[in-house]
Amino acid sequence: MSRYSALGLLRGALNGQKHWQPAWRDPEPKAHYDIIIIGGGGHGLATAYYLAKVHGLRNIAVLEKGWLGGGNTGRNTTIVRSNYRLEPLHNLFEFGLKLWHGLSDELNYNVMFSPRGAMFLGHSDADMVKLAERGDAMRCDGIDADLMTRDEVAKLEPLLDMSRDARFPIQGGLIQRRGGSARHDAVAWGYARGADSLGVDIIQKCEVTGFVRDGNAVVGVETTRGRIGAGRVGICVAGHSGHVAAMAGLKLPVESQTLQAMVTEGVKPMINSVIMSQSLHCYISQSDKGGIVFGGDPDNWPSYAQRGHPMVMEGAVAQGLALVPALSRLRMVRTWSGVTDMSFDGAPIIGETPVPNLYINGGWCYGGFKATPASGWTYAHTLATGKPHPLNAPFSLDRFERGATIDETGSGPMPNSR
């Protein structure tokens, strides 16, 4: 694999751009792999990359039913942050955030990570107390968090409606300056190119239709391209975890819901950071192309339909316009929604399943994109060694029966109340 560089671009300018090679191979599946990862999204590809890079394994396949990054990796709002209050969550996401900061160099692929600051808005005294509590919890573990006054918020985002009679008055905020956004497709493509160059077979248009069992243990998968044997199989299909796990006879603490997002036409820079309001449920940022990216609520009812609902879009846009009235003249050009695994405590599930040789990585709710490097790194450890990584150990599947749930919002065991 040739390295991408400025010199390569220059060379291309002289030879009519004829030297470019495909970024990854399109191999036929082999009869057996040491490790098979189901799902060629960001998490699956990152897992394969770190299995090869960190653990030195080579006989690995990633099976993708459609095309790389065509699921939730391409259907999110690309926000990257680690500002969670609970220790297991912020430790995992902070590990990921550190990887994000070096990811373009690591992969020799520009993932366009832009640490422009991720800011939560506080709309009331109670909001500010909660934000302070969250910031304190983060700073105790060495993660950056700054509580902002009303004036500081207004200075960072002059277009916010800061008037006293605003629909959602703003009292202050909490910012994580190292947070920001990244280019979603580039993350999948960068990891795919990196994994492929280390010998990982990435097999697209290959849907898993069942598991091959020897007794209780999984020893391979049935696919639309034939039977493939495996030493260990890792499910990494968040959004469809329930569907795939059911093939192995498992019922998961997960309900699938669609999560709404949309983008406007491109305009000159007007939103400087990532503006988030968790009291509402509105996420606003500006892409490098200039489009204003809106994130909204999940649908709050189970769905595998990868399309949005006008009712939910209207809610998100109404909140966004109330916060930033200047957006009212923009035209919406695209909407999309991803199918998210809503777990029953709002935290991901990574680790062993009751079925030998079968592992799971899912339940990311609406927060999977930012975790891509951390999820891949720790899941690779689990798949390579068969044991939890210290960072993913708290997120085991059996935490629900042990009463050890990780409930950041404290909203109890119903995904639709999150």
Partner: protein
Amino acid sequence: MMQITCPHCGPRAQSEFIYERTVDSVVPLDAAPEQAMATLFARTNPRGVDEEIWRHTYGCRAWLIMTRHRVTNEISAARAVGPEALP
């Protein structure tokens, strides 16, 4: 948006209804702890048809059970229930 036919009020906009949970996740009062845990925390979550409990919250406030396809959103049945009809 879906249109849901409330057994009491007739066809209404989905925005009047709120999803509660699936029929198979109602925990019986006399359930053993293991069974209660499994019922409360595990879902079949099919990429197909499931039976769901919804409530006409911003209408007659009655509970109903809907049979709905999770991909196409097609509602094949919506019937009235009372607390005594739940398992």
